[in-house]
Symmetry: C2
Amino acid sequence: MKATDFEEEKAADIDQLDEKILKLITKNARIPFLEVARECGVSGAAIHQRVQRLLNIGVVHGSEFIVNPQKLGYNTCAYMGIYLDKAKYHSQVAEALRKIPEIIECHYTTGAYAIFVKIQTKTNKHLKRLIDEELQDIEGIARTETFISLEMDFKRQVPIK
Amino acid sequence: MKATDFEEEKAADIDQLDEKILKLITKNARIPFLEVARECGVSGAAIHQRVQRLLNIGVVHGSEFIVNPQKLGYNTCAYMGIYLDKAKYHSQVAEALRKIPEIIECHYTTGAYAIFVKIQTKTNKHLKRLIDEELQDIEGIARTETFISLEMDFKRQVPIK
DNA sequence: CATGAAATGCTTTAAAC
DNA sequence: GTTTAAAGCATTTCATG
């Protein structure tokens, strides 16, 4: 544990130009920076430098093409709450979960569950197999509760002002 | 409701070159396609055309720079299960939730809850205000259960082979 | 911090296989 | 589906304001 674990990560200094840049590049990572520049009324070099700064200070960390899981055959999306035998098992369980590629998100939570994950499997049977075989082998997991997503209504990033 | 709502979305035909392309562009949306081409041992035009095809058939839908919510002051991440008065309220509730920008993901689920959402707020107080004020005004919501994420262990996209 | 200018490199298209 | 070639743009850097 680091000393900084007791501090909140400080919000970055972001001005209106940064916000406008963020709005554009978080919607389309491949937009030419020169086009961003034209939309913002500044030079291309200014955008280049500001995006570099936003990366350096961690406001953005890279870019991704966004895949549609269903088109790769991943038709089942589920959330799962995990009860642990003891809270101290958290990090070893999290590490074991990281090794399962179908688990695409993992959080340490308050409330009923100690760990909360998002899972993407090809089928419901694939999900069942994952629960029955892979999860049961993980030391520290007491039991789990699964919520299958019948439909994703929407998904987006945090609002930028 | 569309007739196609009763069919599973078919997995796309993806060959090994597509997979290699996907692995690269889902990790870094701004990688030059010529660099992808060099890594794959084909021409730049081939990559250009294949990425276009992957977009056309919906295997990927665009690209995003990924923001770090904390750096924008969004320090509280939570999941919330929502109970509805009646299941038929689902779509009107989902539409109302879409208008709340702090709700960044919304699913129609099986299990204990009818709707399951991911929420990103600036503070715990901001989350409380959202629950007490914005959610209580939505017709059809019976009650909610909140799980605050103390720490995100990891987050990634679906595995590409 | 922003700019313009220059060098280098990338994107995009079309014709050909 | 892939290639090469060529034209048009974009990226990146740096000296300057």
